[in-house]
């Protein structure tokens, strides 16, 4: 008996000294430690690195929730390629919206050799998740310029707000439509939830499409959420929507922007 007691005693003492960074006030505490404002910093890097370029490659990963092993692997796979200029994460980095989930994912994504931006997914909105997302990454609607391409990243998780917040935010899209070109010739739209999904505000899916079509040289849309690769022309108007699978399915997109078009490659790791 006393042998067991000694064992437990020893184990717990060891754990106690290891416990210094095990202080958690609540799983949804929203106490963000470490790097914040990541999207803004990385957008600066992307804009500087690709200034004046008309051809480049970028990768898209999505729905990394509770797949930390696979997220590590996809980061290693993208790093090993050496031809990727930046990475877009399509949202749902958290599953429960717990603060720790955001920190774990951020710490893995920070191992990418290239800058990355992260979209807001519906799971990221749970509990205090959206507040944590905003602290670590920034606004849920954001846009940046890579070479001659404008990337418009939108929050489309309307159901999470019970329609009390303008999602999708047409004012934001309109600002992008009315923006001075500044060398931008093409636009790519990225979102987490595609139109038609129960999470999307489907009452405005057609006006949404109309607004997108007004963006300068709109090329195609990217989304995540569904956990499988897909490509669809939702409205029969020539605008393609490409769905990226989740990392648990060991897939990601590599998208090549060429002077006269683009190529989308479904990659596995």
């Amino acid at each position: 008996m006393s042998k067991y007691i000694n064992c437990i005693f020893f184990l717990l003492i060891v754990l106690f000294f290891a416990g210094c960074d095990m202080i958690e006030y609540h799983p949804y505490e929203a106490r963000v430690e470490g790097e914040t404002g990541i999207n803004a910093k990385n957008i600066n890097l992307i804009q500087k690195r690709l200034e004046g370029k008309k051809e480049f490659k970028f990768a898209m990963i999505s729905d990394t929730q509770r797949s930390y092993d696979e997220t590590k692997k996809v980061v290693a796979a993208i790093n090993a390629r050496g031809d990727i200029s930046f990475v877009i994460h399509g949202g749902d980095q958290a599953d429960f919206g717990l603060t720790k989930e955001f920190l774990w994912t951020r710490n893995i994504l920070n191992n990418l050799y290239m800058p990355y931006v992260v979209l807001l997914g519906n799971h990221d909105c749970l509990g205090t998740g959206e507040d944590v997302y905003k602290e670590i990454y920034g606004h849920a609607n954001f846009a940046f310029t890579a070479g001659n391409v404008r990337f418009v990243c939108l929050n489309t998780n309307a159901l999470e707000y019970d329609y009390s917040v303008p999602v999708p935010d047409f004012d934001f899209i309109e600002e992008e439509i009315n923006r001075e070109p500044n060398g931008v010739e093409k636009t790519i739209v990225a979102m987490h939830v595609p139109p038609g999904d129960v999470e999307f505000n489907n009452n405005v899916r057609k006006p949404f499409e109309r607004y997108l079509l007004e963006l300068r040289g709109i090329q195609f849309c990217l989304y995540g959420h569904n956990h499988y690769f897909d490509e669809k022309e939702f409205f029969g108007d020539g605008l393609m929507y490409y769905g990226c699978t989740n990392v648990a399915n060991k897939g990601y997109f590599v998208i090549t922007i060429k002077e006269d078009g683009y190529e989308i490659e479904k990659c596995s790791f």
Binding site: I8, L15, M22, I23, E24, S67, G97, L98, L126
Partner: protein, 230 residues
């Protein structure tokens, strides 16, 4: 005139209180003595039942207070609890914790029900200290404020998320060291314990068992606490 009346009534009141107190203490002495008992009024069935009822209710008086730092139920939490069992090996606590808002938009209040099992006590000779090498159990916490739900709001299709953001189930284990005042020196309390505990919540355990790169130390939450034995 009026002043004299007031003074008189105060004096009367004081005398009555004193005499009542005297009688009270005398009768209790007689009862305690048992031998010199001259007259004990027979208690009616009602009085016996009333006394029994009161004894039952008295069991609801908490046997201890707890103050805890961290441990996933609040920055600081305060609670009352009951120790019971042959060697007080069972313990139930009700706790309220406060979580400052940090990077979210609201402070949070968290209510916790905690059930502990403390199987062993190690005594050091006849010192006033003892050590409990293991305290383990479960606790259930619920966020009382903010946009959290037990089951999904109606706007979601059925089974959309399939878990609760408000409610967390946790398991824990820890250790304690207890100091008991010698019986004759006690004034307000019997003594107190210092404890620490490691806990893990349901959501983190799901992640831990699903991912190799999430280590046990990534999901454990440390609590430090003080238990005041009343």
């Amino acid at each position: 005139m009026r002043l004299r009346n007031v003074l008189f009534s105060i004096l009367c009141g004081a005398c009555m209180t004193l005499s009542a107190h005297g009688v009270d203490s005398l009768s209790s002495e007689v009862l305690a003595d048992g031998v010199g008992m001259m007259y004990v009024p027979e208690r009616s069935i009602y009085e016996i039942r009333k006394a029994n009822r009161e004894r039952q209710w008295q069991r609801l008086i908490p046997t201890h207070l707890k103050l805890q730092y961290a441990g996933s139920i609040g920055f600081m939490s305060l609670g009352v609890g009951w120790s019971y069992g042959k060697s007080n090996q069972w313990e139930t606590d009700l706790m309220f914790g406060f979580v400052p808002k940090y990077d979210s938009d609201k402070n949070k209040l968290v209510f916790t029900v905690k059930q502990s099992y403390i199987p062993w006590i190690v005594r050091f000779g006849d010192s006033d200290f003892n050590f409990k090498p293991l305290a383990c159990g479960v606790f259930f916490s619920s966020v009382l404020t903010g946009d959290f739900w037990i089951s999904e709001p109606d706007r979601y299709p059925g089974g959309y998320y399939n878990f609760s953001t408000r409610f967390r189930a946790n398991i824990f284990l820890g250790q304690r060291i207890t100091y008991f005042h010698p019986r004759e020196k006690r004034t307000y309390i019997q003594g107190c314990s210092l404890y620490y505990e490691f806990s893990a919540c349901d959501a983190d355990l799901v992640t831990f068992f699903g991912d190799k790169c999430i280590k046990i130390e990534d999901i454990l939450s440390l609590a430090l606490g003080l238990k005041v034995h009343l």
